[in-house]
Subunit: 352 residues, 2 copies
Amino acid sequence: MRLFAALFVTAAIAGSISAEEKRHDEAQKPLVLASQGSFFVGGESKTINSPGRGPGAPVVPGEVTINQMYVQYQIPPTGPRHVPVVMVHGCCLSSKTWETTPDGRMGWNEYFVRKNRSVYLADQVSRARSGFDASKITAVKAGTLPASELPNILSATHQTAWTIFRFGPSFNQPFPDEQFPVDAVDELYKQMIPDLNSTLPTPNPTWKGMAALAVQLKGAVLMGHSESGFFPEQAALVDPGGIKANISVEMPCPALTSAQISTLAKIPTLIIFGDHLTDVPGVWGSAFDTCQKFVEQMKAAGSDVEMMHLPKLGIKGNSHMLMQDRNNLQIADLILAWIDKHVEPGKNAQSK
Amino acid sequence: MRLFAALFVTAAIAGSISAEEKRHDEAQKPLVLASQGSFFVGGESKTINSPGRGPGAPVVPGEVTINQMYVQYQIPPTGPRHVPVVMVHGCCLSSKTWETTPDGRMGWNEYFVRKNRSVYLADQVSRARSGFDASKITAVKAGTLPASELPNILSATHQTAWTIFRFGPSFNQPFPDEQFPVDAVDELYKQMIPDLNSTLPTPNPTWKGMAALAVQLKGAVLMGHSESGFFPEQAALVDPGGIKANISVEMPCPALTSAQISTLAKIPTLIIFGDHLTDVPGVWGSAFDTCQKFVEQMKAAGSDVEMMHLPKLGIKGNSHMLMQDRNNLQIADLILAWIDKHVEPGKNAQSK
């Protein structure tokens, strides 16, 4: 009986290694793209008084463009046959989130492309290559606004990230089954950049940008994470026209009106949470509860909605940064299979 | 005689169209990559007091990472046989500079990859996905620093860009032979984001990052533009160890000591300028003169150095943004041929 159990465990581990090896082998093949590129969505002109650089440089009035959203895309040869996926990063991060992981493995951006899905990465408006509106900072420096009018800039520290991202119960202490590659955490810290979302108007231009991008693409799956986790739904509340599905990864779900639920219920929706939600100080237990309630409301309205709580599927130890965790491609496969089934039933994108 | 001249002109135009058509046809083929990804170079920890977001949020002390340089790369199948190229963008811009042009054509990043050169795009430290040090702004908001300590943020206006980038003699008036796609200038304006280089320590961490990247790549060609035009040389003055050639596009050349010239003279160097240098108000005439002097000093020190002034080659109408001009791939071909000849003589990368 013991021998039988040992053989069973060995076979299960071998099976698991084989799936990982298969993903790894695929990742070594050349990547073939039909096309790639980058562009902006949205943006508007604003008149500013721009100080020159250096002492005594004259102030020059003129227009700058603000609230534009930078988008970088890759289209695989079979991509045009399938609905593309738009990925938007979270707080204090950029689209780097979806690229090479901190320990150098393939990110979801390339893996989805290799699985025949066109991928569009958007830097949130006011972050990274999308730029930000610096006019209040320059006005305070020029003495025409008080310092209290400066934006609240959110710079998340390493200490904050460790527990909020659920690498472990306290700083530099990982969970025994932690899936995040904690030995490479310094490379994640380099991805963390100042968050100027407090400078944005209402509604957030990123929501409008995501909705407009989905229309422009004649249909898209929107995916958000953390700060942007509910942005797909917010985009749908701006304009659901182009949105074929919403994928929300790890965030609190806000209370919505029944009219809003009714709009969102028409869109296939996937909510994803990792492990250890209540094992760190902070918001994750209550965030999960608010999303459970959202899922129930959506179901009551007839929605094709799913709560994918990874530990319930036997997948343990995942952090908040699950797109960078050691089993990131296993989770990607779950998402790709969900898209195949719920967005394009009868068209298996993974078989080209 | 007139007929002969007319035929000659027709043949010359046909020849030119054919070369452009060939470049266009190549651009339509699938792109094959051995690999791609992104990572950071450099970066250091800094202790900050980070204000939370929203009113009354507590201040949390901890470490953030600053001065890291984000790098995005693509390696073609034959890339590992050849010296890679590192491209660094100019003022108020990001690596978007090198990607899809404002009017939707292929940028230098992809064209170089299609010509068998691995390409590394770096966002300057303090810009875009590299992030910036926000601590002085948060300290002024918290009342622990005076407003005069705020950084000088450079936000270039549309009006400034039009003439400084030499699209025409005055705002919205293009030169008759202008090569920049001025109908799509709004898309360039969306690329322009706040420049926080005034927050950087000395020497500029981007110089150190470029030098370190060249060492890490076991040899690289460094290319800079405008604000970063002389960064390849500045990187070589930090550490010339990994630098196989420097390409400087459109900038003033600073005065250097003979010891500095002696260091730089060992590195093959290409300086590039477009057209209309003295047809706009501003710095371009004198910038060209300072670089002519630099070239003479380098030649006197025995350097393999070339001043490529495009109008002297019969290539007219190029703006400051020549990597986005309508003839951008023609100029790319000149640069690729220069690299082949001066960095890898006897190894023609373009023939794989």
